[in-house]
Symmetry: C2
């Protein structure tokens, strides 16, 4: 059973709650990506999502390591933010027929997910350093760099489709 | 009444849907900020949220201008993503007694909101340029710069609290 927000009294509690939040989020993202891979039509977008699925699995393993380093059991706590972001992604991308419009919607949805993760890992790293868990901060930093690289790649894909359209 | 996702057929439809999504989000953020101002304890955080409330009001006015330029009525469409992000913010910050922990939770919540907005405005700007609405893209770019500046300021506040704790 996860940690409830009413149990948050100290920075350690807040750190743990946010770690459980991103653990839940990463696991939801891992489950959502295969559907996004199926839906994507541009081969480079499909490949990008496939690569990100592999990264997400490693990021979950990295979070397992973080829990272990802290001597805690790895577990999630429900995260209404990622639930809402993924619900919205599904709602929008679920109804689009045109390939180019669908890919644009999928890229936008994936960037909203990436930005959520970038914000949460940024916060967790700052708090890990504050709480003198520098080894944990270093691990989370690796994930943050991957999330930023994914976001940059998605922007390039979005701009690629813009250029394709401008020259068509 | 807003635009439904089932009506998304073209890039114009997707652009309009996302514009209505961020219009709804900005209006929800404008309603949420006074509570965050009330809760914040560090004077510089309170002042930062107050300044951001003013900016949010201007950003809504800027979106009104965007709808006007496109010859459309300004209206929102429910955005489960921002609902989830704000629900989570409320859930976490609602239960914390310690001032420093509460401020840290509020900064983290505000950064999740900023990153959602950064992702949506980035997407909207790319699509506005693709759809040859360069005047609209320029207006949205002003908001994006403000959101990024707010995020940077929040990071500084978060690090400020880290330093304060490190030296205490």
């Amino acid at each position: 059973m996860g940690f409830f927000s009413k149990d948050i009294k100290t920075m350690d509690d807040l750190f743990l709650h946010t770690l459980q939040d991103i653990y839940y989020a990463e696991n939801k993202i891992e489950k959502a990506l295969p559907d996004m891979i199926d839906k994507a039509t541009a081969p480079e977008l499909k490949a990008g999502f496939e690569q990100h699925l592999g990264e997400t699995t490693s990021q979950i393993a990295r979070l397992d390591q973080v829990f272990e380093k802290l001597g805690l059991e790895a577990e999630g706590v429900q995260c209404p933010a990622i639930d809402g972001i993924l619900e919205e992604a599904d709602e929008v991308a679920g109804e689009v027929d045109d390939d180019r419009v669908l890919d644009a919607a999928l890229i936008a949805a994936a960037q909203a997910v990436e930005h959520y993760e970038i914000s949460r890992y940024g916060t967790l790293i700052a708090w890990a350093r504050e709480l003198s868990h520098s080894d944990v901060a270093d691990l989370l930093e690796e994930t943050l760099e991957e999330e930023k690289a994914t976001d940059t790649k998605l922007t390039e894909l979005a701009e690629g489709s813009v250029n394709a359209s401008a020259s068509s």
